[in-house]
Symmetry: C2
Subunit: 351 residues, 2 copies
């Protein structure tokens, strides 16, 4: 038995109706709301076939049918048409690119959560093997130095170094020259033991300072930089199929904890261009087996890439979600490239 024209049309109607209403779809509904002019009995036969083929499921004996994961997958791959017209809800939103990156990301997540009514996440942009652009040590006061390291894409790292004894200006300049000379243009991954020991040798009595700077640089390559921002976790409560049982607790925990999300993102960040849809088990996050996850990669330019995603019920409005994510992608891509004239980035650290 194969999927013929008619079966597809019926499947399409079932899914679309279910996406709207969230309730099992019966044969009579289909019979009425399609132009097939078939009686409910005929539809019933077809639906029985569709169930055998695995595209739809009957929650219980006397209920209508709902799409299975396979059904959703078919819908996303073949039936869905993206409604490029209706992006009006997103057009209003223009990213304020004068803001700090962190606040931009939070904004995007919030806005997306608001317009879609799903939970959202967005990761900070990262660049693999980001080269060091600039290293500088300055004297804060007699007891403290400030080390500043700038990587490609203007990722700035600071570290305050406490001195045990004062340092004169000449030494400071020497150290700065030394550090820049050995480290500039190098990616943290490429800093070999050879470079390090050479550097330390030349530093003489100030080895410890060099060590601290190197430590700071080392931290930049640790994955912990993949910050994940989430928003709209409470949207989950809008979907009974997600908010019943202890499902909610686990889901919200995952959104709060973010660790699993970060892992998921880093595992799936390989193929860029595409927007990806994970239905149910397709994402490897156990707590999200009843959800669909849709992710998109954005590219700020200079190799800075991040992921933005939506977490919602399987019966999410895929068309709207894809359209919105595309719009976000576009806006984010433009964000950095077209605004060379503006300074970005201010960030605070308490000690």
């Amino acid at each position: 038995m194969e999927l013929d024209e008619r079966k597809i049309k019926i499947l399409d109607t079932i899914i679309r109706t279910y996406l709207e209403t969230g309730e099992p779809v019966g044969s009579r509904t289909i019979s009425k709301y399609t132009d097939l002019n078939l009686s409910s009995a005929t539809i019933r036969n077809e639906m029985s076939d569709l169930e055998d083929l695995g595209y739809i499921i009957q929650p219980h004996a006397s209920a209508g049918r709902i799409p299975s994961d396979k059904g959703y997958r078919f819908y996303v791959d073949h039936l869905m048409t993206e409604k490029d017209k209706e992006i009006s809800d997103m057009k209003d939103f223009v990213i304020e690119h004068t803001e700090r990156m962190e606040s931009v990301l939070k904004q995007v997540a919030q806005m997306l959560a608001q317009t879609t009514n799903y939970a959202t996440m967005i990761t900070s942009p990262v660049k693999k093997n980001n080269a060091i652009k600039f290293v500088q040590i300055s004297k804060l006061d007699e007891e403290q130095l400030l080390a500043v390291v700038v990587l490609g894409g203007n990722v700035v790292k600071n570290k305050v170094i406490n001195l045990t004894e004062p340092m004169d200006n000449e030494t400071l300049m020497k150290l700065n020259f030394l550090l820049n000379n050995s480290l500039n243009g190098k990616a943290p991954m490429d800093i070999s033991l050879g470079i390090i020991s050479g550097l330390k040798e030349q530093a003489g009595e100030h080895v410890d300072i060099v060590s601290v700077v190197l430590d700071a640089i080392a931290e930049t390559i640790t994955q912990e930089d993949l910050e994940v921002y989430t928003s709209g976790a409470t949207n989950i409560f809008k979907y009974p199929e997600l908010s019943s049982s202890e499902n909610v607790s686990n889901l919200i925990y995952a959104l709060e904890e973010k660790k699993e999300l970060a892992e998921f993102v880093s595992e799936n960040a390989d193929s860029d261009e595409e927007i990806k849809v994970y239905i149910g088990d397709e994402s490897d996050i156990k707590t999200m087996k009843d959800c669909s996850v849709v992710t998109a990669t954005y590219d700020l330019g200079e190799g800075m890439k991040g992921t933005v995603g939506i977490i919602g019920p399987k019966r999410m409005d895929y068309e709207k979600v894809l359209t919105n994510l595309k719009e976000i992608k576009k806006q984010m891509n433009g964000l950095f490239n077209n605004t060379k004239t503006k300074g970005i980035e201010v960030k605070s650290d308490g000690e």
Copy 2:
């Protein structure tokens, strides 16, 4: 009618029992589990009095009694004894003070949420009217400058400035001298229009650069710096009285959104030393009218103060919570003061 010895003892027992079980306490229970040797009938009379006095409430006609807000308040103020012995669960936790501040705060919030089983929050340490310690502009490349501003407590801010035309080293030095001269030692609030215009005048053709730096400094005084970290939001699900109805959604939203929390903290940050308990409506957060909020102020030294707090059901284990918060306070206070030898703080920004 007044609270005599016996009424207090009964009230104490009611509250303690309710804290444990979470269920309305009946007269018979009290009669059995106190050494008063009174029949349930007598207890009933006393409980009726206690209800008239407003210390306990009857959820419905044929149920036992539960403490009212006034009852909890009395308990916290007069009955509770902090169990200083049982801090074993916290003793294990030692803050890793080599970490970045942000991660320390997240750790503390998480740990506290885990040991208490309530939701927790912690704010980044801030210093009122923090004086500028150090200003520096460096050349990243031909097109970009990096502005670094360090405030007291080693709060570091960075801003990348895009140049329209190259800048020679001499001008850079001049600007640096100028900026440090006019701004060093000044709190952002104290930078008068006079200083600004004087600065801009001296800057000559590089007014725009000075403006950017001033903007960066201006941002430091905006309240947005009060970062709030939360953890354990899903602990709410452990308490039926909080997790029923749409209560949960609002509560979790408040914990996710954090804005209300930030406002609450800044409004109540005045009197330091104390640990404060807000029962029900006593905190002005509407969504938390069914919760108790306990906050403590920690002091990292150099005037850097923050707030750590716990949000739980009214029937929270106040004794344990207070003890834990005191321990956190102690550890946080020691964190910065005793570790002058260690450098802290590395922080990244993508542009």
